[in-house]
C-alpha cells in the first residue's frame, strides 16, 4: 500500500478531541465526491501550485521521470526477452555481450527511476510542508493583527485548530499530487506504448484503467461519511473520558464508577460499530485494487496469445504489456489519494480562509504622548457590547464554514444580551487610585480592557491627558498604560524575559519590580533565579506566583496608568495587602485603576466607581458611597452577612492552590 498512506482516518479539523466532544452531526454535510467539492478542491490545488510553482515543477519532473522510466523498463524487459532470453534458450548459447548490455540497461533505467522517485517524494513533501508553514504564519499573523474583540468571539480550541489541523488538512492532497500528475503522464506514455504494440491490447487497457478511476470514486464516496462519523465518535469518546476523569472525585465519592463505565461503554461501543462499518468498506479497497490489474494481465495473456497465433504479436511484446500492467497497478492509486483527500482539504481550507479573510483591525492615529508622570484619565460616555456569539461558541461565519465538518462547542462565556457597558463616564485625576467595584457581570473587567485599548468602545471615548486613545500611534498606549489581567499569562520563557517582555531594562530594575510585586523572594530561590524557565504558560509556578510576575511586568514599565484587573486574586491576602499598600505609598508615580473584590482593596483607593449592570451607579469615596448608594452598601454588607468584619470570601487564611502551598492542601485533587 502506502507510498503516501491514505489518511482519511486521521484527525480532520476537529482533532481537538475535547473541543469536538458532544458536537452534533453537521447539518448538511457536503457529499464527499460531489462535483462542487471536487471543483473547489481542484481550485485549492491550483492555489498550491501557484504558491509553490518551482517545487511543484521539480516534483512533477521527478514523478514523470519515474513514470516514464517505469514504462521504459517494461519496454526494455520485453526487448530483453525477445532479443536475449528467448534466443539464448533456443540456441543454447549465451550472447554475453547482449546479456551484459541488458543488465546495464536495466540497472540504468532502475537508477533513473529511483532518482525520479526520490525527487518526487522529497518534492511533494517540501511543497506540502512549505505551504503548511506559510499558512501557519499567515494565520498566526492574523491572530496577532485582529482586535481582541475578534478573539473573544472565537473559542481558543477553534483558533488553535485553525492554525494546526485545518492548515494541515487543507494541504493534505498536495503530498501525493506530484505523483498523481506524473501518473497521468505515465498513463499517456503507457497508452502510446500499448497502441504502438497492439490496438487490441490497448483496448484492454482502455477497459481496465477507467475501471480503476470508477472504483476510486465509488470508494471515496462510500468511505468518506463513514470515516467522518468514526472521527466524530472518537472525539466524543475522548470528551466523555476527559469529563469523567476530571470529575473523578465526584464519581468516586458518590460511588458512581459502574454507571460511569456503562455510560462510557455505550459510547465506546458506538465507536466500535462505526469503525467496523467503515472497515467493511475499507476492507474492499485493497482486494479490488489488487485484483483489477491482475484481471487486466489475464486479459492481456488471453488476447495476446490470440494475437500471437494470428502472427501480429511476439512473446516479448506480450511480456512487455503484461509487465506494464503489473507496474502501473500501484501508481494508479496516487490519483485516488489526491481525490480522497479533497473533501478534508476543502473543509480545512474554508476554515483557514475564514480566519484569513476576517477584518476589523484596530486603527491607529499619529498622536504621541507628551510629558511623563501620571496621566489624567477620562472615561466619556463609553458603551460596549460584546460581539454576538451563539451558544455553542460559533459565529455565523464559522457555522457556515462548519457546514461540512465537525463542530466546536466550547462554551466559554454565556451570551450577553445587553451591552456590557452603557454610557459609562467618570474621571480620574492624575496620580489618584480609583477602585472599580460591582457584582460579577457588572462590567468591571470590560472597562479595565477599554482603559488600555484592548478593544474600542462602540460609543464614547477613553482619554488620557485629554487625548483619545484611538488617536494615539501604534505602541503609544502600551508604552503609557499597563494592564495586569485577572488571568496572569506568562510566556514560555525565563522569568527575566517575562518581566522585561522586550523592554530594555537591567536586572536591577527587574529585581526592583519583582520586589514591589512581592515576588523577589521566591524568584531568588528558583533554581536559576531570573534565568529560570517558567514553562508553557508558567506551569512551573503557582497561581499566586504567576500573578506576581505579571504584576512585576507592569511595574517595571513604570506605567503612567496602571490597571489592575483583580490581578492579585490568587495571592495570599497578607501578601496582597503588602503589595497594595506599597502601590498606595508610591501613588503619584502612576494613576491606578484597580478592580476590587476585597473590601481591603477598596479601602486603599481614593475613590470608588461603583458599577451596576454596566452603568455607573455611584462615584465617590468609600464612605460617601456607603451612605449615598444603597446598592454599594448592600454589596459591601453582602460581603459580610453577619455584620462582623468579613472579607468577600470570608477571611481566607489559606487560599488554596496558591503561593506554592503543598499540593496536599490545594483542595481535594482539583
Amino acid at each position: 500500500m502506502p507510498e503516501h498512506a491514505p489518511s482519511p482516518a486521521k484527525a480532520p479539523a476537529a482533532a481537538d478531541a475535547a473541543a469536538a466532544a458532544g458536537a452534533e452531526a453537521p447539518a448538511t454535510p457536503l457529499s464527499a465526491g460531489s462535483p462542487a467539492v471536487i471543483r473547489r478542491g481542484l481550485a485549492i490545488l491550483g492555489m498550491a501550485i501557484r504558491d509553490e510553482p518551482r517545487t511543484f515543477a521539480v516534483a512533477v519532473a521527478g514523478s514523470s521521470l519515474f513514470g516514464l522510466m517505469m514504462v521504459a523498463s517494461s519496454l526494455v524487459l520485453g526487448e530483453i526477452v525477445d532479443r536475449v532470453v528467448l534466443p539464448s534458450f533456443e540456441t543454447g548459447r549465451v550472447a554475453v555481450g547482449g546479456l551484459a548490455l541488458a543488465a546495464a540497461v536495466l540497472l540504468t533505467v532502475g537508477a533513473v527511476r529511483a532518482l525520479g522517485m526520490f525527487v518526487r517524494r522529497l518534492g511533494g513533501g517540501v511543497m506540502t510542508f512549505r505551504l503548511q508553514a506559510a499558512y501557519r504564519r499567515r494565520v498566526t499573523r492574523q491572530y496577532l493583527r485582529l482586535p481582541l474583540s475578534w478573539h473573544q468571539s472565537h473559542p481558543t480550541g477553534l483558533l488553535l485548530s485553525n492554525a494546526n489541523a485545518d492548515v494541515e488538512a487543507s494541504w493534505a492532497p498536495v503530498l501525493p499530487l506530484p505523483f498523481a500528475v506524473g501518473v497521468v503522464a505515465t498513463l499517456i506514455a503507457a497508452l502510446v506504448v500499448l497502441v504502438a504494440t497492439d490496438p487490441l491490447l490497448a483496448g484492454v487497457g482502455c477497459v481496465v484503467f477507467p475501471a480503476f478511476g470508477a472504483f476510486n470514486i465509488f470508494y471515496g464516496r462510500r468511505i468518506s461519511p463513514l470515516l467522518s462519523r468514526a472521527q466524530q465518535l472518537r472525539a466524543e469518546v475522548s470528551g466523555l473520558a476527559h469529563e469523567s476523569f476530571d470529575g473523578a472525585l465526584v464519581v468516586k465519592t458518590m460511588g458512581r464508577e459502574a454507571d460511569e463505565t456503562a455510560r462510557f461503554a455505550r459510547k465506546a461501543d458506538e465507536l466500535r460499530a462505526a469503525m467496523v462499518r467503515a472497515g467493511q468498506v475499507r476492507g474492499l479497497f485493497d482486494p479490488v485494487m489488487d485484483a483489477l490489474p491482475n484481471i487486466g494481465v489475464l486479459l492481456v495473456l488471453l488476447v495476446g496469445t490470440a494475437r500471437i497465433s494470428a502472427g501480429s504479436l511476439d512473446v516479448g511484446e506480450l511480456v512487455r504489456v503484461a509487465y506494464l500492467f503489473t507496474l502501473l497497478a500501484f501508481p494508479l492509486r496516487a490519483i485516488g489519494w489526491v481525490f480522497g483527500e479533497l473533501p478534508r482539504s476543502v473543509v480545512g481550507h474554508r476554515r483557514v480562509s475564514t480566519v484569513l479573510r476576517a477584518c476589523g483591525e484596530q486603527r491607529f492615529g499619529s498622536g504621541v504622548m507628551a510629558g511623563h508622570g501620571p496621566v489624567a484619565l477620562a472615561v466619556d460616555a463609553v458603551s460596549y457590547t460584546y460581539p454576538r456569539r451563539s451558544v455553542d461558541g460559533r459565529t455565523p461565519a464559522i457555522m457556515a464554514a462548519d457546514a461540512a465538518g465537525p463542530l466546536y462547542p466550547a462554551l466559554e462565556r454565556p451570551v450577553l444580551e445587553r451591552p456590557a457597558l452603557e454610557r459609562v463616564s467618570f474621571e480620574v485625576p492624575a496620580g489618584r487610585v480609583v477602585a472599580l467595584a460591582g457584582r460579577t457581570g457588572s462590567g468591571k473587567s470590560t472597562l479595565a480592557g477599554l482603559l488600555v485599548r484592548l478593544y474600542d468602545p462602540d460609543a464614547g471615548a477613553v482619554r488620557i491627558d485629554g487625548v483619545d486613545l484611538s488617536e494615539l500611534a501604534r505602541g503609544e498606549v502600551a508604552a503609557a498604560a499597563s494592564l495586569v489581567p485577572q488571568q496572569a499569562f506568562l510566556f514560555d520563557d525565563t522569568v527575566r524575559a517575562n518581566v522585561a517582555l522586550g523592554l530594555a531594562v537591567d536586572d536591577a530594575a527587574i529585581w526592583d519590580a519583582l520586589a514591589r510585586a512581592q515576588a523577589d523572594r521566591f524568584v531568588a530561590v528558583l533554581p536559576a533565579g531570573l534565568d529560570t524557565q517558567v514553562g508553557e504558560r508558567g506551569t512551573t509556578l503557582s497561581g499566586g506566583q504567576r500573578q506576581r510576575i505579571a504584576l512585576a511586568r507592569a511595574l517595571v514599565r513604570r506605567p503612567r496608568l496602571l490597571v489592575l484587573d483583580d490581578a492579585t486574586s490568587s495571592v495570599d491576602p497578607r501578601i496582597e495587602s503588602v503589595i497594595l499598600t506599597g502601590l498606595r505609598a508610591r501613588a503619584g508615580a502612576s494613576t491606578v485603576v484597580v478592580v476590587a473584590h476585597r473590601r481591603a482593596t477598596i479601602e486603599l483607593a481614593d475613590d470608588v466607581v461603583y458599577l451596576e449592570r454596566g452603568r455607573v451607579a455611584g462615584h465617590g469615596t468609600h464612605r460617601e458611597l456607603m451612605v449615598t448608594s444603597p446598592g454599594y452598601a448592600a454589596l459591601l454588607s453582602a460581603y459580610d452577612p453577619t455584620g462582623a468584619a468579613c472579607g468577600p470570601t470570608g477571611p481566607t487564611y489559606s487560599p488554596t492552590g496558591v503561593d506554592g502551598s503543598p499540593a496536599e492542601d490545594a483542595g481535594l485533587v482539583r
Binding site: 529511483a114 470529575g247 460511569e260 466500535r272 475499507r282 514560555d492
Partner: protein, 611 residues
C-alpha cells in the same frame, strides 16, 4: 483547549506520556507476552482465528497467481512459436477464478480482522476506563490525569488506526513475501538465492535506517508541540500581547517554531524518500541479476523461459513490502507501545481496594467516627499526619482548621477513604474503614469537594449523581430543602437547565449550589465538606451559607474550614498543625487561649479590616 491536537506526523503516532508510576512500563516485553496479555483480557482476540488465518492464506496465495499464469502461458502456451490457445484459455480462466477467490478471501479476512480488533480494543478501552476509576486519587492525581485519559483515548485510537491502515499491509506483505519465496524455490532455487542475495542487504540497510527514522519522527513530534505552544501564546495570551504591544516578539517565536517543525518534517521525508529510492534501485538490480543468472542457468537447462519471466514478476512482490517496512515497523512499534501502556494501566494494582462481598456494611443509624493513631505519608514523602487520635460524636458539626499544608485536607481524604492510612485505623461505628464495602460507604458518607465538578448534562442529571433513582421532583425538593427553590426556578429551564462543559454556563458559586443539592439528595449520615475559597458573588455567598446550614442540620459533618464563621458556629473546632491535632474545643473555648487557633483568628480578623 485541554488537549491540543497534535497531528500524528506521517508514520509516527504520538505515543508521549509515561505510564502510571506504580508499575513501570515493562522495557522490552516480548511480542508474544503482550499478545497473551491481550488474550487474557479480551478473549475475542483469538476467537475464530483459524478461519481468519485460513482466509489469509488463501488471500496471500492470490498474489502469485499472475506469475504462475505468465509462466504457464510462456512455457506451455506459446513456446516453439505455436501458440496453444486452449492451454492459455484454461490457464487464464483458472487464474481468473483464483484471483476472484483470493480477493473474496482477502475481503472476508479484512472484515473479520476489523471486527475482531475493534471488539478487542473496545473491551480494553472499557476495562481500562473502569480500572482507572477504581484506582485511588493518589494514582490518578491531577498531574497524571492527562496521561491517564490518553490511555483510553489516543493510545487505543492509534492502535485502531494502525490496524485499519498499516497492520493489514504488514500482515499481507509478510505473507506475500513468504509465498513468493516458496514459489520461487519450486521454480528454481539458484535463482531464489540470487533474488535473496539482492534483497537481504536491502533489509539490513532498512533495519539500520529504522532507528534514525524513529528518532526523526520523535523530533517531529516534539517540534509540533513547540509550535503549538508558540501559536497558542498568540491566542491564549492575546490580551497580554496587545496590552504590552509585543506582537513582533510573538510573531518571531511562531516563525521560528514553524520553521523548525518544517525542517524536521523535511528531514523525515528525506529519510523516507531515501529508503524508497533504495528499494527501487535494489529491485532494478535484482531484475538484472535474475535476467543474467536466469539466462546462464536456462542455457544449461536448469530453468525454462516462462519460469524466468515469472521470476521477473515475482521480484516485484518484494519491492513494496521492503519499501514500506520501515514505516510500518515504526508505526507498529508506536501502536504497540500505546497498547502496552493500556495494558500496564490494567496491571496497576488497586491501592485502595473494595473489600467486596467479604466486607461489612455500616450499621444503621448515626455514625461515631474514630481516628486511632492515624499516620499518613504520600508515596515517597515524609509523614504529613502523625499518629492522629480523634473522636467525632454522632450528629456533631466539626470544623477542621489549620494553616496551608497542615494536613487538614489529608484528614478529610482519609475520612472518605480516598486513601488508606500508612499506620493506624479510621473506624466508623467501630468498623475499620477498609473493611467497609464501598457500596455501603459511599451511600452513607458523602464528600462535597471544593470545586463542585459538574458534568455536561442537566442540573437534575447532575444532582442524580447523588441518587440515581431520584425523579425531577425529588431534585426540586432537594433544592427546596436547602432554601434554593427561588434560585432554581429563576433559571431558564429550571432543573432541566444544561450546565455546559464542566458547568461553565453557571458561575462558580452556582456550581457549588448544585454540588450541595447533590449531597442533599444522597442523604448521607456523614458529610465531609471541603469549603471553597474562591471568590463568589455576594448574593450567591448568602445562598451558599444558608444551603450549607440546611445541609448539615441533623447530620454529622466535618468541614475543612476556611471561613471564620464556620469555625465560630461549629460544635467542635479541631486545630491541625504540622500533621498533629494541637487543639480541640469550641470557638469560645479556644479563642481566649494563646495558641495556633488564636493566631489564626487574629490573622482572619486582620485580613478583614484590611489594615
Amino acid at each position: 483547549m485541554s488537549t491540543a491536537a497534535v497531528p500524528t506526523p506521517r508514520g509516527g503516532g504520538g505515543g508521549g506520556g509515561g505510564g502510571l508510576a506504580p508499575v513501570p512500563v515493562r522495557p522490552r516485553e516480548p511480542l508474544w507476552a503482550t499478545l497473551r496479555r491481550i488474550r487474557r483480557l479480551a478473549p475475542e482476540f483469538t476467537a475464530g482465528l483459524p478461519v481468519t488465518l485460513a482466509l489469509a492464506a488463501v488471500a496471500t496465495a492470490g498474489r502469485v497467481v499472475i506469475p504462475i499464469a505468465v509462466q504457464q502461458t510462456v512455457d506451455r502456451g506459446l513456446l516453439d512459436g505455436r501458440p496453444d490457445l486452449s492451454v492459455v484459455r484454461h490457464a487464464v480462466v483458472g487464474a481468473a477464478v483464483a484471483i476472484m477467490v483470493a480477493a473474496l478471501a482477502a475481503y472476508r479476512m479484512n472484515v473479520r480482522l476489523y471486527r475482531m480488533s475493534e471488539a478487542v480494543l473496545a473491551t480494553m478501552r472499557i476495562r481500562a476506563f473502569r480500572h482507572i476509576h477504581d484506582l485511588s486519587m493518589l494514582t490518578q492525581s491531577e498531574q497524571r490525569r492527562g496521561a491517564v485519559t490518553s490511555r483510553v483515548t489516543s493510545d487505543v485510537d492509534q492502535m485502531s488506526q494502525f490496524l485499519q491502515f498499516g497492520g493489514m499491509v504488514l500482515l499481507l506483505s509478510t505473507g506475500q513475501m513468504l509465498i513468493a519465496t516458496v514459489l520461487m524455490a519450486v521454480y528454481s532455487w539458484p535463482l531464489t538465492v540470487v533474488v535473496y542475495a539482492c534483497f537481504i542487504p536491502m533489509a539490513v540497510v532498512v533495519r539500520r535506517f529504522q532507528p534514525r527514522l524513529t528518532r526523526q519522527y520523535l523530533t517531529v513530534r516534539e517540534r509540533v508541540g513547540d509550535m503549538l505552544g508558540a501559536i497558542s501564546e498568540s491566542v491564549v495570551g492575546a490580551a497580554v500581547v496587545r496590552a504590552y504591544g509585543v506582537q513582533a516578539r510573538t510573531a518571531t517565536r511562531v516563525d521560528t517554531s514553524v520553521d523548525r517543525y518544517r525542517s524536521a518534517q523535511t528531514a523525515a521525508q528525506r529519510l523516507v524518500a531515501t529508503v524508497f529510492s533504495a528499494g527501487e534501485l535494489v529491485a532494478a538490480g535484482a531484475t538484472g541479476a535474475v535476467v543474467v543468472a536466469g539466462v546462464l542457468l536456462g542455457v544449461g537447462g536448469h530453468v525454462s523461459a516462462g519460469k524466468l519471466v515469472a521470476f521477473l514478476f515475482l521480484v516485484t512482490l518484494f519491492v513494496v513490502p521492503l519499501q514500506t517496512l520501515t514505516e510500518m515497523l515504526n508505526e507498529g512499534a508506536n501502536a504497540f507501545a500505546g497498547l502496552r501502556r493500556v495494558l500496564d494501566v490494567l496491571d496497576t494494582p488497586q491501592d485502595v481496594p473494595d473489600p467486596g462481598p467479604g466486607g461489612r456494611d455500616l450499621p444503621r443509624g448515626p455514625l461515631t467516627v474514630c481516628f486511632d493513631g492515624v499516620s499518613f505519608a504520600y508515596p515517597g514523602g515524609p509523614l504529613v499526619l502523625h499518629a492522629v487520635d480523634l473522636r467525632i460524636a454522632p450528629g456533631s458539626r466539626v470544623a477542621v482548621v489549620g494553616e496551608t499544608g497542615s494536613g487538614k485536607t489529608t484528614l478529610a481524604k482519609l475520612l472518605v477513604r480516598l486513601m488508606d492510612p500508612t499506620a493506624g485505623q479510621v473506624l466508623f461505628a467501630g468498623v475499620p474503614l477498609d473493611r467497609v464495602r464501598f457500596a455501603s460507604l459511599r451511600r452513607r458518607v458523602v464528600m462535597v469537594p471544593q470545586d463542585g465538578f459538574l458534568f455536561d448534562v442537566s442540573i437534575a442529571d447532575n444532582v442524580r449523581y447523588g441518587r440515581l433513582d431520584a425523579t425531577d421532583s425529588d431534585v426540586m425538593d432537594a433544592f427546596a430543602a436547602l432554601g434554593l427553590a427561588d434560585w432554581i426556578t429563576g433559571l431558564a429551564d429550571g432543573v432541566l437547565t444544561r450546565v455546559g462543559e464542566r458547568g461553565s454556563s453557571l458561575a462558580a458559586g452556582e456550581r457549588q449550589l448544585v454540588a450541595l443539592a447533590r449531597a442533599q439528595i444522597a442523604a448521607p449520615d456523614l458529610l465531609v465538606l471541603d469549603e471553597a475559597t474562591s471568590a463568589v458573588d455576594p448574593a450567591t455567598e448568602v445562598r451558599l451559607a444558608r444551603a450549607l446550614g440546611e445541609l448539615t442540620r441533623g447530620r454529622t459533618s466535618v468541614t475543612i474550614a476556611h471561613r471564620l464563621s464556620t469555625a465560630e458556629s461549629a460544635d467542635m473546632v479541631v486545630v491541625v498543625d504540622a500533621g498533629r491535632i494541637v487543639q480541640q474545643g469550641t470557638h469560645a473555648e479556644l479563642v481566649g487561649v494563646p495558641g495556633v487557633y488564636q493566631r489564626l483568628h487574629t490573622s482572619w480578623t486582620a485580613g478583614v479590616t484590611g489594615s
